[in-house]
């Protein structure tokens, strides 16, 4: 739980809620064609998931927020640029929504989707 206390009581934000923000931010990042489950290591990916936290892991140790995000990238884009913009976008949206700094955003490229071959 990510918490804050004010005179009226306390506010808790669950890692799952943070994951939802990260999930949506990642899906709107250019170059990302899907999020993948961490456990399905090889290629098996679900581009469209019902679970709004699919492919995102949030860890909060009472002090720092760490986010791991598992993505599938469009073949033919520059993976490094796509990954770094996912990292920036996710960090920005989470920090904007929570008002708390995010310690780390780790982007794991789980696969590539080949929709067109050059």
């Amino acid at each position: 739980m990510t918490g804050e206390t004010n005179p009226l009581g306390s506010i808790h934000v669950s890692p799952r809620a943070i994951a939802t923000i990260a999930f949506h931010a990642a899906r709107e990042s250019y170059g990302v064609v899907g999020l993948a489950n961490k456990n399905l290591v090889n290629g098996l990916t679900q581009a469209i998931a019902k679970d709004p936290t699919h492919g995102v892991e949030v860890q909060y140790d009472g002090n720092r927020i760490n986010i791991d995000i598992y993505i599938v990238v469009e073949y033919g884009t520059r993976i490094k640029s796509v990954a770094s913009s996912v990292s920036n976008t996710v960090r920005y949206h989470v920090e904007k929504a929570l008002g708390l700094p995010v310690n780390q955003v780790n982007v794991h490229v789980r696969g590539l989707r080949i929709s067109e071959v050059d």
Partner: protein, 560 residues
């Protein structure tokens, strides 16, 4: 007058009917890159959030630069093969979101043209359609009102134009027109743009690339942003002193309202005959002209603009005299930092300006790290500031909420005992430093200093870099805004008004001391005048004035 009106079709098309082969593509890519670079700052300034950190223009320029480098020395005559090289270069150089999308556009375009020797009109239309499809395939949930929308609109315009034209360059002209209109429409599709009062930066960048190509075909200049007018708030006149050329002794700034639509090309030509460093800004129909001229021509820009319309304000400054006073100020800024004995607690403060650094130094800070709102120091810079100190007990005052994180990281990278006092503003930092007891118990000193943060009210007064609505406060670009404890409180017409209203809203009458720290942009006389007003309004309170020297913020207030 629209600043970015497309190329005039009246101009003579010298190159228009050359076949589009490899060498022609090379020229077009170069032209697109050059024109984008010329207008890079305009694209950068289209930032949604009211902080000056936009870099879309820079990312797109770097992407196009790598694309052009790839073909610069290529003797390839085949259009299609060269297009593949461009796409490859763009892919390798893709920076940022907009750069990646741009590389996808080139990739789709190249795939469609295959290895055609010469590009004809139907192939161009087809290639733009494939470019659009490829661009859209790169994202799960495409957001409209972005560069993607622009690719869609230009592909549609090209298709619509195909029955009327045989020549691909004619279609390109239509495409530029469509890109322009599409960019203007982006705020209607994407609310966040409308709120910030800007068009989409990536779309605008794509427009400049395409417009550069057409400008080249018409033989129009690409290296100077002749026909562009920047938003008033984006004019950066404070940096122009660095670019003084010999003989240009006076800086003339004229605000005027032209009677008729300004003929920008003619206007610039006349001004170029007078001086250098020409900049033109526009906001609500008022134009601001900035120019450096030699002594004997110091009145010429005024006479000239008066012939065009009504002048509302003129300012003439002697650059040479200003330069010498800046140098003198730099020499007078020596300060003495507090010496540290081994075992004592040393304080490190982040400071945005020389004057504030001196105040911190006089209060016992052992090291200063330069930085502030738009120039956050790195973790390494903070580390460097205290690693060499002869003590291992350190407290850090970040004095800005964006720097707290870097300060915390520095704490984790050292063996020294470090505490970060989370000061979010200069007044908080100053309040905390007053509680520093170098020989005290570390935990107690940290607790005392942290508690002091809440004992002071901070006010910051700056100029809005764009129109926006935050926390229910409507702000127009160029307006003076006041922040109270880091939150946007109000917008005002002047620094004076912002200052007085801020003091009223924060109930300064219940406090004891009001300190005003004047920024580098606020003239000393103006600072003193405002201070006198404050003294008159708050006779019960002590009012102190300090020369803060901070950039961007005309005034920082501390109320305690």
């Amino acid at each position: 007058m629209r600043a970015d009106s497309s190329v005039s079709t009246r101009s003579l098309a010298k190159l228009k009917y050359l076949p589009l082969n490899g060498p022609a593509l090379k020229k077009l890519v170069e032209a697109g890159l050059t024109w984008l670079r010329t207008n890079q700052q305009i694209v950068n300034s289209l930032n949604v959030f009211p902080v000056p950190d936009g870099d879309t223009g820079t990312n797109m320029v770097l992407t196009m630069q790598t694309a052009y480098d790839e073909i610069m020395n290529s003797p390839e005559y085949n259009f299609g093969k060269l297009a593949h090289a461009v796409a490859h270069g763009a892919l390798m150089g893709a920076r940022g979101n907009s750069g990646v999308i741009l590389s996808q556009i080139w990739r789709g375009f190249a795939r469609s043209v295959g290895n055609q020797e010469i590009l004809d009109a139907p192939s161009l239309v087809q290639a733009l359609a494939v470019a659009r499809d490829t661009a859209y395939k790169g994202v799960v949930r495409p957001v409209e009102g972005t560069i993607l929308t622009v690719t869609k609109d230009i592909a549609a315009a090209a298709e619509l134009a195909l029955p009327d034209y045989d020549n691909p360059t004619d279609i390109l002209v239509e495409v530029v027109e469509a890109a322009n209109l599409s960019v203007q429409r982006t705020p209607d599709l994407l609310p966040v743009l409308k709120e910030a009062g800007v068009v989409d930066a990536g779309g605008k960048g794509l427009f400049f690339i395409l417009e550069g190509m057409v400008r080249y075909l018409y033989g129009l200049p690409l290296d100077t942003a002749l026909t562009t007018v920047q938003p008033l708030a984006a004019m950066q006149l404070e940096n122009t002193l660095e670019s003084i050329e010999p003989g240009q002794d006076f800086e003339v700034v004229v605000d005027f309202q032209p009677r008729d639509t300004l003929d920008l090309e003619g206007f610039y030509q006349n001004l170029e005959a007078m001086g250098t460093s020409i900049q033109l800004g526009e906001g609500d129909g008022i134009y601001r002209l900035h120019i450096h001229v030699p002594t004997e021509k110091r009145y010429d820009p005024i006479d000239y603009t008066m012939s065009l319309g009504t002048i509302t304000k003129v300012s003439i400054e002697n650059l040479i005299a200003q330069m010498s006073s800046i140098e003198a100020a730099a020499q007078g800024s020596k300060m003495t930092l507090a010496p540290v004995e081994p075992g004592q607690i040393a304080a490190i403060a982040v400071s945005p300006g020389a004057g504030i650094s001196r105040v911190f130094a006089s209060l016992g800070v052992a090291a200063i790290v330069e930085g502030g709102q738009t120039m956050n120091p790195s973790t390494q810079e903070i580390l460097n500031a205290f690693e060499n100190l002869t003590t291992d007990r350190i407290v850090i005052l970040p004095n800005n909420k964006n720097i707290i994180l870097a300060a915390n990281s520095a704490r984790e990278l050292t063996v020294k005992k470090v505490a970060v006092i989370p000061s979010r503003s200069i007044p908080q930092g100053l309040a905390a430093i007053l509680r520093l007891d170098p020989n005290g118990d570390f935990d107690k000193v940290v607790a005392d200093m942290t508690r002091a943060l809440d004992e002071v009210e901070s006010g910051e007064i700056t100029t809005a870099t764009r129109s926006v609505e935050i926390d229910g406060v409507q702000v127009k670009e160029g307006q003076t805004i006041a922040l109270h404890n880091g939150k946007l409180l109000l917008a005002a017409a002047s620094v004076e008004e912002a200052c007085m209203r801020l003091l009223k809203e924060s109930h300064a009458e219940h406090f004891e001391l009001i300190t005003l720290y004047g920024g580098i942009d606020l003239p000393r006389a103006e600072l003193n005048r405002i201070a006198d007003l404050v003294r008159r309004e708050y006779p019960e309170q002590d009012v102190e004035v300090q020369d803060g020297g901070q950039p961007h913020y005309q005034l920082i207030l501390s109320i305690e």
